[in-house]
C-alpha cells in the first residue's frame, strides 16, 4: 500500500513537472537569454522534501527524457546537467544545513544555471565563451529561485498532511 501510494504520487508529480516545463518552453517571457522561472523545480523540491530522494531523482531524470522527446537532444542534455547538479546541491543543503526553503531554491536555481553553462561549454568545445553568460544567469537564478522558493513555501504551508510519516510507517 505504502509503496503504491509513493509510486502514484511520484507519477502525479512527474506529470506536473513535465507540464510546467513544457508550458515554460512555449510561453515566451521577457527574460534575457531565454531564462525560465523553473517552475518544475518546485515539483522536484516538493518531492525530496515530502517524499524521498529516489523519487526526486527519478522525476529529474524522466523529465529530461520528456524534454528529449519534445525539444530535442541538446535541450535534454541541458535539462539533465542542470537538473542533476541542482538536485545534488539542494539535497545537501536540505540534509546538512538549516537553510530556509527560499535559500535552498535559490541555490538550486543558480547551480541549475551553472550546470547548464558547463554543459553548454562542453558541447560548444569552448568553456570560456559560455562562461561569459554566467553573471547574468546567476542573477537570473537568484531571482527565479526566490520566486519558486516563495511559491514552494506557500505550498508547504497549505499542505498540512505530513506525507513523510504517511508513507514511511
Amino acid at each position: 500500500m505504502k509503496k503504491t501510494y509513493r509510486i502514484a504520487l511520484s507519477g502525479i508529480l512527474l506529470a506536473l513537472a513535465c507540464t510546467l516545463s513544457y508550458i515554460e518552453s512555449i510561453v515566451p517571457l521577457p527574460l534575457p537569454l531565454g531564462a525560465k522561472p523553473g517552475l518544475a523545480g518546485i515539483v522536484v523540491m516538493f518531492a525530496f522534501m515530502k517524499i524521498d530522494f529516489p523519487s526526486a531523482a527519478t522525476i529529474t531524470v524522466l523529465k529530461s527524457a520528456f524534454v528529449l522527446l519534445t525539444r530535442g537532444f541538446t535541450a535534454s542534455i541541458m535539462s539533465a546537467s542542470g537538473g542533476i547538479l541542482s538536485l545534488a546541491v539542494m539535497l545537501m543543503l536540505f540534509r546538512f544545513t538549516k537553510s530556509s526553503t527560499v535559500m535552498i531554491s535559490v541555490c538550486g536555481a543558480v547551480t541549475h544555471n551553472i550546470g547548464q553553462i558547463i554543459a553548454a561549454g562542453l558541447i560548444m568545445g569552448s568553456l570560456s565563451s559560455a562562461a561569459t553568460y554566467s553573471p547574468i544567469l546567476i542573477i537570473a537564478g537568484c531571482l527565479t529561485g526566490s520566486l519558486t522558493g516563495f511559491l514552494l513555501s506557500l505550498i508547504l504551508k497549505s499542505c498540512r498532511v505530513p506525507l513523510k510519516t504517511h508513507l514511511i510507517k
Binding site: L33, G34, T74, S99, S100, M103, V106, S129, P135, F150
Partner: protein
C-alpha cells in the same frame, strides 16, 4: 527544523551575490572590439571586422544562421534553431562578450585584435 521563509543572513548573501555579478558585468564592459570571431565546434571559422557593415551573411559550416554587422555591433538576425537564444542575446560589441547558439555549436566572440587569433578573452 527548516525555517519556512528566508532568514536575514540568507537574504544578505543573495543580495551580495547579485551585486557582485552586477559589478562583474559593469567592469567587463570595457573597450569596443574590433572584430568578431565566429567559431564552430570550438574552432575558429571566420574573423569578421566590425568596422565594415554587412547584412545577413552566413559562415561556411553553419547552415541557416545569419549574422549582421551594423554600427560596430554584430548580432544573429535569423536562425532556424529551436531555442533562438542566439537571437535573443541581441547586439554585442564589447571585448569578451559572446553569442552562443548551442544547437548549431556556433559561438561569436568579440576580440580587440583584427588578426586571425584563436585567443578568446574571458
Amino acid at each position: 527544523m527548516n525555517t519556512r521563509f528566508l532568514k536575514l543572513s540568507e537574504a544578505l548573501i543573495i543580495i551580495i551575490v547579485i551585486l557582485l555579478c552586477l559589478l562583474i558585468i559593469f567592469l567587463r564592459n570595457g573597450n569596443n572590439g574590433k572584430s568578431a570571431i565566429i567559431s564552430i565546434n570550438g574552432k575558429t571559422a571566420a574573423v569578421i571586422p566590425l568596422s565594415k557593415e554587412s547584412e545577413h551573411f552566413s559562415v561556411k559550416g553553419a547552415d541557416n544562421i545569419f549574422f549582421t554587422v551594423h554600427n560596430g555591433c554584430i548580432y544573429v538576425d535569423s536562425s532556424d534553431c529551436t531555442d533562438k537564444i542566439c537571437m535573443k542575446t541581441g547586439k554585442i560589441n564589447k571585448c569578451g562578450e559572446s553569442i552562443i547558439c548551442l544547437p548549431k555549436k556556433v559561438s561569436v566572440t568579440i576580440s580587440d585584435s583584427t588578426e586571425n587569433t584563436d585567443v578568446i578573452v574571458g
